[in-house]
């Protein structure tokens, strides 16, 4: 299938051109944050403190890697289940977060937030962490080092493979895909 080439930052102009089901190769910068890092970022926003990175037009990757072997840039680095971040996503979208990469369903509230902010939710392939590590060219821990695998990492990526799971119009592949292939039994 044909792939769309996408560079970061993910501006509104770039985001609105992406359609549900598109296969995309992302190059540029991603930031990782999982459950524990989200809790801290939400706390920072509440206390009006600076965040570990500028949210505007950025992409967060829900992922926590395995430790890299000596000499390797990256360990296994696939996506985690996104729905655990649902309750903590709206404040980040409202601060300009434009893209999220994870796997699995999102709540109706997050889908509304995606539409309102013209953001995009991408799915990476769950359980393909070894393959995904090939697209990671640099890793730097930039915040919450004490969280180990859950620390915020700045990733430099080249042709990072994702699928547009929810586009800026709120169209969701998990609904459209299932409906298309559902059969009577």
């Amino acid at each position: 299938m044909e792939k769309i080439i996408l560079d970061t930052p993910l501006t509104e102009k770039r985001a609105v051109n992406l359609k549900c089901g598109d296969m995309v190769l992302i190059s540029g910068t991603l930031y990782t944050a999982r459950d524990a890092a989200h809790l801290r970022m939400i706390d920072n926003i509440r206390q009006k403190k600076t965040l570990p990175f500028e949210l505007k037009d950025s992409i967060i990757y829900y992922a926590g890697p395995t430790p890299e072997r000596p000499g390797n840039i990256s360990g296994s680095f696939g996506p985690t289940t996104s729905s655990r971040m649902d309750k903590m996503t709206l404040p980040l979208l409202d601060q300009g977060l434009r893209g999220m990469i994870g796997k699995g369903l999102r709540s109706p509230e997050v889908i509304e937030g995606i539409k309102r902010n013209k953001a995009v939710y991408f799915a990476a392939i769950g359980g393909a962490g070894a393959m995904i590590s090939n697209s990671i060219k640099g890793i730097e821990i930039i915040a919450y080092d004490d969280l180990g695998t859950e620390a915020v990492r700045k990733l430099s990526v080249k042709d990072f493979p994702v699928v547009v799971a929810i586009d800026t119009f709120g169209e969701c592949i998990y609904d459209s895909g299932r409906n298309k292939y559902k059969k009577e039994f």
Binding site: G75, S83, L105, G126, A128, N134, T149, I173, G177, R178
Partner: protein
């Protein structure tokens, strides 16, 4: 009595966890190879190709197949004519897990206590199930269980009158509600009967069976087939992007139960079905 050093068990456990995180059994790979030819959705086929590439890269470069290298679950069947020597058995298992996760560059995903959630930094403790069996051997069955799929499991105490239809509906609904979250194509483990905790343990044990092997009891074998057909008609597909391959297999195990009950537990495994068996 046959004496067996628990240090031997520790070494086996270590080797098993490092290996299983980098290489799956041939059964899953064969399934993916076969299914990529018959999956109806183009994006589904692409996903299955990627999963095969991923397995090849993991094996060749010794990078774990998935970054969630799991919580360690160990079933120990210990012959009653075995006398264990050296370390305490529980400590031996945990030491094996500790060395595997530290020396094998695997992710440490276990927290010490469920609310404060401080990481134990060595992926211990394992969840260990002991069983005393006849004979003088020890069978170790070990699995690295990821939580994307573990979180989608459910248990329900059905009424005896709910019968076969009730079981089928509960299992199919559980997998359908989980949708893309447990990383399909999945393996569905089902435990029926016993008590609440017995059903749950059976559903986990069912995941250890060679992929697609039917329950020898014809009634249960038929139910497995029926559930598999229904799940694959759901349209969820590989990774939930839509398609005809949602589950690779349904494995059921059963046990005698009480006149008033019909416990049913569903334990889902993602396509990265990591387990190993070893007999000492």
């Amino acid at each position: 009595m046959r004496e067996v050093s628990t240090l031997l068990i520790k070494e086996k456990i270590k080797k098993m966890f490092i290996e299983m995180n980098h290489e799956l059994g041939n059964d899953v790979e064969a399934f993916l190879n076969k299914t990529r030819e018959i999956e109806e959705s183009p994006i589904g086929r692409e996903v299955l190709e990627n999963l095969l590439d991923n397995l090849a890269i993991a094996k060749e470069k010794q990078i774990p197949i998935c970054q969630d290298t799991g919580m360690a679950v160990v079933f120990l069947q210990i012959g009653q004519e075995v006398a264990l020597t050296d370390m305490f058995i529980e400590e031996a298992v945990n030491q094996g897990v500790r060395e595997a996760y530290q020396e094998g560059y695997l992710r440490k995903s276990v927290v010490k206590e469920p609310l404060e959630r401080v990481n134990t930094k060595d992926n211990t403790p394992a969840v260990i199930h002991y069983e005393i069996v006849p004979g003088n051997r020890i069978k170790i069955s070990a699995m690295a269980k990821g939580f994307g799929s573990e979180n989608m499991g459910k248990i329900k105490m059905l009424n005896p009158s709910d019968g076969k239809e009730g079981i089928v509906k509960f299992v199919v609904d559980t997998v359908s509600d989980a949708g893309p979250n447990p990383c399909p194509p999945v393996i569905v483990g089902v435990g029926v009967g016993g008590t609440m905790e017995k059903a749950a343990i059976l559903s986990k044990k069912a995941l250890l069976r060679p992929l697609g092997e039917r329950n020898p009891n014809q009634t249960y074998g038929e139910i497995e087939k029926d559930i598999l057909g229904r799940i694959n008609a759901s349209g969820i597909g590989p990774q939930g992007f839509g398609g005809s391959c949602t589950a690779m297999a349904v494995h059921m195990e059963y046990y005698p139960t009480h006149i008033a009950g019909l416990p049913v537990a569903v334990n889902i495994n993602c396509h990265v079905a990591r387990h190993r068996e070893s007999v000492i």
